[in-house]
Symmetry: C2
Subunit: 207 residues, 2 copies
DNA sequence: TAGATTGTTAATCGATTAACAATC
DNA sequence: TAGATTGTTAATCGATTAACAATC
């Protein structure tokens, strides 16, 4: 009966989309928008946007619309991204290194503070927070620093074992790039990024 | 009234998931499975799997289940991934290079045959198909080779312009890594991969 | 055969949309 | 004020699930 837990996951999933669209409007110099305009930009109905937002409060003004700054601040608070999150990257192959270097994370409040691998030829390469660490130190590292978010860029075969160790160390959110379904406790969240699945979804529609 | 166009997109989106799960079962040495087992592995109801498959035909046997090889072949045919697709990567930064080198694509029927950038210091680096080409040659390249799929790993500011050029050259499916909503004609498909959006969706659930 | 599992129908569930009073 | 847009209700739409006859 707690009101928070009743909000459909599909609604939560759209909030980051709204945030991104608002960002784009701000960068175009706008300060006010409407559910209609936002919907146009995203290919979503204005009614759906108003309905989604109404789960959390009243953020607009009749006749006027939404103050973009205000709405963004509210969405960030709801999603808990009005702060900086520390993350670790596991796997220092091409993908792991690209993730570690990707500037888009820190811009939007996510900082990579550790990179791990089990390959001795990789350990010690890089500099600063991105110097590759021994995977044997990973569990202690996330526990001591209370890190809650990890990105997995390792081969499928070892993904589950690494996942288990991360969860044991206190990690509660995993962004998984391995093409494998992970099994985790109920209070741990996993999101999957598998580019091949996106490609396969599109080839269906090609002649 | 064409039966193909009536299949919900949400169903198409689950087929690659089924394919991936079947792959995993094969690698464990299994040759037969059931909707129940598949559902267990994916966290989906067995009824949904049977319903989804029934849009395309009858692939199982009462009392027995599904011959994995047969079902995989059927799914690949439906998704049109029973062939090799050529793709281009646009953007040769960290992400673009990681995509170009990623072995998971060719393993699953997608081959990167061209990488493009506008930075003179990058053009000419790399070797073979992965030698970075001048972006000015991109439009001709995709047209001449009839390439239908592109992956976009460029800054948001230039993403739309590059997208337009790709579409003009005949590209019909775009996997977009830029955190920007692209506008494309109706017969062009876009899938978005924005890791930050996945992260933001998970932070909502963290304490 | 007895047990198991499919494909499909009908019922349920939940999400989206249309419409509008409230009001800026 | 007149016009515009919100937040919300009720209606519609579509997706998921339960159940079961068919049958391997």
């Amino acid at each position: 009966m707690t009101s928070v837990s009743e909000i459909p996951d599909i609604v939560i999933g759209r909030l980051p989309l709204y945030l991104r669209a608002l960002n784009q409007l701000v960068s175009q110099g706008q300060t006010i928008t409407s559910s209609h305009e936002l919907g146009q930009q995203l290919g979503i109905s204005s009614a759906q946007i108003r309905k989604d937002l109404s789960h959390f409060g009243e953020f607009g003004k009749q006749g006027t619309g939404y103050q973009i700054n205000h709405l963004m601040a509210q969405l960030k608070q709801i999603l808990q991204v009005n702060r900086e999150w520390s993350m670790v990257v596991v796997g220092a192959g091409d993908l792991g290194r690209a993730l570690a270097h990707y500037g888009g994370f820190v811009e939007r409040g996510f900082r990579v503070v550790g990179v791990f691998d089990n390959d001795p030829s990789k350990i010690g390469t890089g500099s600063g927070d991105l110097k590759v660490r021994n995977i044997n130190d990973m569990n202690d590292f996330v526990r001591e620093r209370a890190i809650k978010i990890a990105m997995l860029a390792v081969p499928g075969k070892v993904a589950q074992a690494i996942c288990d160790s991360l969860v044991d160390g206190g990690v509660r959110a995993i962004l998984n790039y391995a093409p494998i379904t992970l099994s985790v406790p109920e209070n741990v969240h996993v999101q999957y990024i598998d580019p091949v699945m996106h490609l396969q979804r599109m080839t269906y529609y090609l002649d």
